[in-house]
Symmetry: D2
């Protein structure tokens, strides 16, 4: 059984800040957001977790292996180095969607994302080290079959992007509603999905669904581990097997 | 008439690099990609341009105001500071989609995105300073009406993301095929669209289309300028008027 | 008794790289170096350590609390994100100078700093968690008395810098040869010194020596802890007492 | 004749900020400072200038080629992305020391570095584009002869640092008081000096002085140009000639 620890990372009162006292330079907002994400990704990654940029003002991380103290250091460090602050909700569960819902509620209960008095919330609970197992996290790493040959080298860059985006949008909805999973585009033609305890037929079904719906061909490698990094590395190696052997689903 | 200068920024041979000699840590890839994007955004932004992360391995920028020499400095600087290199294609036109298609072709003609011998291509042509006008760039800045009240403070963070993503996916396809425009999600509930010479009814039509198709309510501010920053600032101010007055479309 | 764990961080073959195939843009070298340092500082700091930029191509860190596995993650992560690689030597001892000498020797024994075949050395030993004590690290935080009033607001910025530099150069030599300590300028008018088991009279003597030699007046706060962060926070609070009370030496 | 444009970059009210409401984590301060410096170095460098970290809270830049508008963009961009703000003073002159003195005075006249009401000063004047010449900037790039063989591979890392620091401290003072020049350590064993119109015998004299005073052997390449980048590249190439031919002073 999986026991995924999910953290919601929400920038406090970000929308109003971006237009106060008047709209800020877009290039600066983009730079600030993406560097903030990079820093969080690095911090969480150094403890074995994965962070997804999602909407940038609301990021989602798989944080098995990080204590609440680690979360507090991250929050303090960002507060020391950025013009914005973070609120963090942390929850665990066999369903990543349910864990995220619980984590979100902790932050929502403390106030609106645009409440200027709600700052640096840190609430929730973690998988204690002594309860962790090597099956706590299941990660599936999807990509588009021969995306470079079929799209990148053939279509204009935006039409390629539309194709990949369509595949992602369909997979994201399907995995969430049919399989209680959280899917994130991570660049190129790669999608990383945080799953509950799924089996090979589930992945075959999802791939077939996307191909039927939007005609994008996916392959997937799946890994399990005590944290996102371990599970994700298993998934990456399994996906390499797909690429080498022409298979569509490989479980580590 | 618009005359948009578009640059395709493609990381050379990136896919193979990420798995050679074996798959690299995902957190490092995410950190590296988003910092590279941040640096390009900052460089281009300091010259009045906008850069969109798109797929991260293929980024798209509106570069009116940047010469080919500026592009060469960016390319050299990235080569000096990152483990990867960039190829750049630059083209101009009244249709942003056509300009991007031309820019893409310049890079594709030099070799595959996964050709390990194709490195640091720089090709294309720019709007010469003496030919620039204050109507060269048209930027539309969309957001979701009361996204915080309707979604962020109500749904779990992933379901909010799905709603916003659906609105984005629909708008992206519609603006591209009906209006020759390039749409980019830029974080939060914001979408920036690079447009040809569109008028108010075009924007009303697009908003109605998205509402019909996926039930997401958008509002939009539109600006024009000699470069993306000027046009984008106009769009931001116009969008502030929508927010203040409850209107759906404002042209600067 | 102190038991300081010191890491030498050396960029592999950096000098030759900066001029191959021809000299690289200085602004890019400065940017790359200082960001690399920032990343290492953040990584080490998140585990309770301190990193000093020193010469940038050779950085020195106090790494009590970091295992060899942590060092390996840092080395891999930098290799994934920068155009250069790191070699790391780690040693421990009651004398910070001796520990650094031992750490340096581990790297030197593996080859020259300009040997293009020596890459990503990682060697040494750490203070095992079960042997750590809250007196392992002693940190002294010095600053110049009323530097802003006496220098920054009065002299031109370079002459202020010369004054502070002179104080630093004298303190650095004196602390190294008289007190087996490692002194690092950390910005502004602040100097952080990694010390063996020194007592209050040692600090009084050092302050008097610098005042005699170069007429720069220093004050100092001293802290002890299981790692650099804990000891350094004690030192900072002690220095705040100096500032508030007008005293010259405060031990936490 | 040189006509150097010098900018003093001072973080507003930085000292008090670092200890309010209580001392901030040193690793965060180091990370924030060095990234801020990196960003400024990149911005100024993209316009052909050089920035030196100096004390980090007070940085000095050679900004020939940057207008006051460019300075304003830098100031705004930092204000949008960092928790601190910058004040900037800009001045020009045949003597770099005098130009810096004038630039410093502009900032000092507006208030103390620790005045919490003084924020984002921008004052001064630049070399107008039409008055620029290819002799406006003279840069000398020094390094220590065989620093790797004599020091880095032989001594412990701190004793090497002391040797190089001593050479730097002596050169810095001598060039400032004997030759009206500003010297900056830039990492490794490299020192970059911003000079007025000096000739070969001046450099020979300086090298001999440092060797006499502290027994550190230096070599130097010198370049001239319309901006720091052009002059500095000339200096780097000239220094390569020293390294290849064993000469001590080379003028481009």
């Amino acid at each position: 059984m999986t026991n995924t620890q999910v953290t919601l990372i929400q920038i406090d009162n970000y929308g109003p800040w971006t237009v106060t006292p008047e709209p800020r330079r877009e290039a600066d907002l983009q730079t600030m957001q993406s560097r903030l994400y990079a820093d969080i990704s690095q911090f969480v990654g150094n403890h074995g977790g994965y962070t997804f940029f999602t909407r940038f003002d609301n990021m989602i991380a798989v944080t098995n292996g990080l204590s609440l103290e680690d979360h507090a250091v991250l929050q303090e460090s960002v507060g020391n180095r950025y013009p914005v602050t973070l609120s963090l909700g942390v929850a665990t569960g066999t369903s990543p969607v349910q864990a995220l819902a619980d984590a979100t509620e902790l932050v929502q209960d403390a106030g609106s994302a645009q409440d200027k008095h709600r700052r640096e919330i840190l609430d929730g609970r973690v998988v204690e080290a002594e309860h962790g197992t090597t099956e706590d996290v299941q990660i599936a790493h999807f990509d588009v079959i021969d995306a470079t040959g079929n799209y990148t080298d053939e279509l204009n860059a935006f039409d390629t992007f539309i194709e990949i985006e369509q595949g992602y949008a369909e997979l994201m909805r399907h995995m969430r509603y049919a399989h209680d999973s959280l899917s994130f585009f991570v660049g190129g033609d790669n999608i990383i999905v945080v799953c509950p305890n799924l089996e090979e037929p589930d992945y075959r079904e999802a791939i077939a669904h996307v191909e039927d719906a939007v005609d994008v061909e996916l392959q997937v490698g799946v890994g399990r581990g005590a944290n996102a990094h371990d599970a994700g590395m298993g998934a990456k190696h399994a996906l390499e097997t797909c690429r080498a052997d022409g298979t569509r689903v490989e479980l580590e």
